[in-house]
């Protein structure tokens, strides 16, 4: 009998007991009618070949294991970043269950969001009644100060008009006329989660700046000395935004973070559930129009938003997820240039410490080959950081990065001696990556949780950076931005390197001469 009350066997050990092994063998042999062992072995070998890689890259229609999600997920992220705001997704309800689960699995936090629960009748007659009732219920039950509406693909396919629906809802008394309901159409069949973030954020800013969808007056900009900061869709938001605020605080820069979910996705366990916590207030959004400039940390995540802001007379600067020394330098120098405030000695010391750490450790990363995948901005930032460390970003892949993104990454690679023979792969997925890892091997893989399947198949150790990260806890609570963030990412790379080296030199009496106590 396998189970043991003194030391309860969990799934990972229970099913290795002889009783279960025999059971699996019996099931496989007698009932599964699996493919012959020879065919299996041949196919395993074949998928590792260059020939398979070519066929794999010849795919035109099928996507396997993509590294992207759909627009409304990003729209919910954006909405969550505003004070006492409840995201309301107009369309099928299953989508909202998925977004909430997805975020909760990553952040290990509640994610509040409602659906208009459209079903077959709404598919035929449109979802107006769902909007009318839905807004009323949300307003009465959860008492938000703002409801930010976005759409699922169902509502988009049948062509529901959010602006008209919300106005009608107000006319029908569903919610008070003056209640703020910014909105954005976020079709899942266009772009990805970063597009949805962009659309929703643009929708909210436009709503407040341009006269509340025709129900108020447009704001007039009276420029001041403050700046706005937009982070973009970011799985490390709970660590990153406080770090940005800290750095800007050290510089004495008057700033507004537009969209800040770093509190609501990081609430304490103290006996109280906070459906709402922190976030950018409506007053802050309105005042943000007067800022001198707006900085986006992730340009691909904020294309439309930044265009809108620029049209309002701001100086706008979009980065691509700057990381490490030069990335952070560029960000801080830009802030300094815009605001006229010098970069303080504290930050210079932090910079020096990061350089110190890199100098201490660079020999272990120099020339190491990396494959990385993820959102387009993160890929640009991480590629630059790897090059800065003397590492080689051999395969840089993004499912939601387009050809233009690919050229940008390639230019970055081509400009560095460490980018030689390195290549960008736009609009590719993790099954493409599998072929790359088998045919052109690398030392380490950087990606989200789904990269663990590649780690298993290809034996390439995975460093978890990106979204989502479901299978490691609390990474999102710490920054990867700024010099401090650079230190952390550097440590992650080194930890994985040393772990792999130790694991590879542990053979007792065979390889352990290299199992060094000092590395």
């Amino acid at each position: 009998m396998p189970q043991n009350v003194e030391k309860v066997l969990d799934h990972e050990t229970l099913f290795r007991e002889p009783e279960y092994k025999a059971m699996f063998e019996n099931k496989r042999t007698n009932f599964e009618f699996r493919v012959p062992a020879e065919d299996l072995a041949n196919q395993i070998a074949y998928t590792k070949s260059w020939e398979y890689r070519e066929k794999n890259f010849a795919r035109e229609a099928l996507t396997v294991n993509p590294a992207k999600a759909c627009q409304p997920l990003g729209a919910v992220f954006a909405a969550v970043g505003f004070e006492k705001t409840l995201p309301f997704v107009h369309g099928s309800q299953g989508c909202v269950a998925y977004y909430r689960s997805h975020f909760s699995r990553h952040f290990k936090e509640p994610t509040s969001c409602v659906s208009s629960s459209m079903t077959e009748d709404a598919a035929v007659f449109g979802g107006l009644n769902n909007m009318i009732d839905g807004l009323a219920n949300t307003y009465n039950l959860y008492k938000p100060e703002m409801i930010a509406v976005s759409t699922t693909c169902m509502a988009e396919v049948i062509g529901d008009d959010l602006d008209a629906f919300i106005k009608t809802s107000k006319q029908k008394g569903s919610i008070p006329a003056e209640f703020d309901v910014p909105f954005a159409h976020t079709p899942a069949f266009v772009g990805s989660h970063i597009t949805g973030y962009d659309n929703a954020l643009q929708g909210i800013i436009k709503y407040f700046w341009d006269g509340k969808a025709g129900q108020g007056t447009a704001l007039t900009r009276v420029p001041n000395e403050s700046i706005n900061f937009i982070g973009g869709f970011d799985g490390f938001v709970c660590g990153n935004l406080p770090e940005i605020r800290r750095m800007l605080g050290l510089m004495g820069v008057d700033h507004t973070v537009l969209c800040d979910p770093s509190d609501v996705w990081n609430t304490p366990t103290d006996g109280e559930f906070r459906m709402f916590d922190g976030g950018t207030s409506k007053a802050q959004v309105e005042a943000a129009i007067n800022a001198k400039a707006t900085i986006s940390f992730q340009g691909y995540s904020t294309e439309k938003t930044m265009k809108l802001i620029k049209e309002h007379g701001h100086e706008t600067v979009s980065f691509n997820h700057p990381m490490g020394v030069t990335g952070t330098d560029a960000f801080l120098m830009k802030v300094s240039e815009i605001t006229g405030k010098p970069i303080p000695p504290e930050l210079e010391r932090e910079r020096g410490r990061l350089v110190d750490a890199i100098a201490d450790s660079q020999a272990h990363l120099h020339g190491k080959r990396f494959a990385l995948y993820g959102d387009p901005d993160l890929m640009l930032g991480m590629t630059a950081f790897l090059l800065e460390l003397g590492a080689e970003p051999v395969h840089v892949l993004s499912t939601n990065g387009d050809a233009e993104w690919g050229r940008k990454v390639q230019a970055l690679l081509d400009a560095s001696p460490f980018g030689k023979n390195c290549k960008a792969y736009p609009k590719a997925d993790l099954w493409h990556m599998r072929s790359l890892l088998f045919t052109e091997k690398v030392d380490f893989l950087i990606g989200n949780t789904y990269g663990k399947y590649l780690e298993r198949d290809c034996g390439t150790p995975l460093i978890r950076l990106g979204f989502p990260i479901f299978d490691r806890h609390h990474h999102h609570r710490f920054p990867i931005w700024g010099y401090q963030g650079g230190l952390r990412v550097l440590t992650m790379l080194l930890d994985e390197y040393f772990e792999a080296l130790d694991a590879n030199t542990m053979g007792i009496g065979t390889t352990d001469y290299s199992y060094d106590i000092i590395r």
């Binding site: 599964e32 998928t47 993509p66 269950a97 998925y98 509640p110 693909c153 069949f189």
Partner: protein, 482 residues
Amino acid sequence: MSLTVDENKALIEEVLKAYPEKTAKKRAKHLGTFEEGKPDCGVKSNIKSLPGVMTIRGCAYAGSKGVVWGPIKDMIHISHGPVGCGQYSWASRRNYYIGETGIDTFGTMQFTSDFQEKDIVFGGDKKLEKIIDEIEVLFPLNKGITIQSECPIGLIGDDIEAVSKKKAKEYVGKTIVPVRCEGFRGVSQSLGHHIANDAVRDWIFDKVDPNKNTFEATPYDVAIIGDYNIGGDAWSSRILLEEMGLRVIAQWSGDGTIAELENTPKAKLNVLHCYRSMNYISRHMEEKYGIPWVEYNFFGPSMIEKSLREIASHFDDTIKANTEVVIAKYRAMVDEVIAKYKPRLEGKKVMLFVGGLRPRHVIGAYEDLGMEVVGTGYEFGHGDDYQRTTHYVKDGTLIYDDVTGYEFEKFVEKVQPDLVGSGIKEKYIFQKMGVPFRQMHSWDYSGPYHGYDGFAIFARDMDMAINSPVWGLTKAPWKKAA
């Protein structure tokens, strides 16, 4: 504390006050108290969720791809439509299986047609054809393909049935199953289960070549129906059935294969765990092939013993005798588990809110540990589920169907249970409130919970949830003193 019938009524009334009148009237029908002797739980169910209330429910696609079809490991399941649905349901349900992923098994992979605007405008049938061609090139060892429709498919008028037939002919003998599980159909995951069951009937049973994958039948052949092998549940169940002397010829659908589905009509008895999601195909097999089916419950020793004997009653004396041997064999281990954990859990109150089976099925396991379930409800149960629930719950149990975020929070606040068992969306809400919690869909990444081996894990997990030192830390000491 558990409340009295009157206290429950007052609580429900108070909670309903927050709703607009129309909504309150509708929600009132879903909230109630079980009263001893009544034939049901006094609530309405399987009705559309109200917009904007924060329902916990999902959709038909989740019921078909996520629950019924997804675990069939040697088939490729295409999430047909935009990228999200497949992404969010990718490998998140912990349907354990054994096989070479990407080679001859495909369970933890995400195949999607990643619809773009042009596919919506011009239709996706041509793309689907091409996807099937590409699958055949890159994954030639797959044993079949299912097309799991996402919302747009039914709205833009694609003919996935025609594509399936055409491609099945082209790849001679290939099983290609179109499933109309668009997320807007029905009111919850539940219709997706039904649609998926019907697709098995229409596209597997009705098309199977009787000479394919044959084996010699025995009088002891049974099929496990409605076990998704979450954390290995079907395995820790199967082992008991085999020890009884039965031969399990198929698992539906955890760690299942298409051959097992095809051969199930040869079973002598179908044993059904998740009634809600697979009663349809069980009834069909009874009508068409004359296979009887019996519901069973493998949560906790009391229910396991009862179920083992019930299953054995369909067979001869050898099986019945074996069954007593199996029960006796595990008795000592089970007694040790209870002796260890019952003193730590005795009298603890539990509130549940799960899918279509566990709101009733796990109650016995808690009771075996001396715990009491004081509130329960289904995300997508029907009337027959609430009828079955009456056999499990005690007088005065608070019942909440398709509970909303608001209601659940208020109920827990008032009832103050020692443990809440629900899903990932609920977990952190209650933990913030200082209430111990276990996910009862995914077993909180633990499990199995089925069978005797699973019960030991279940008991250990409930103990570690409730008796964790962390719950003594939620209040800062300087506040405690104040």
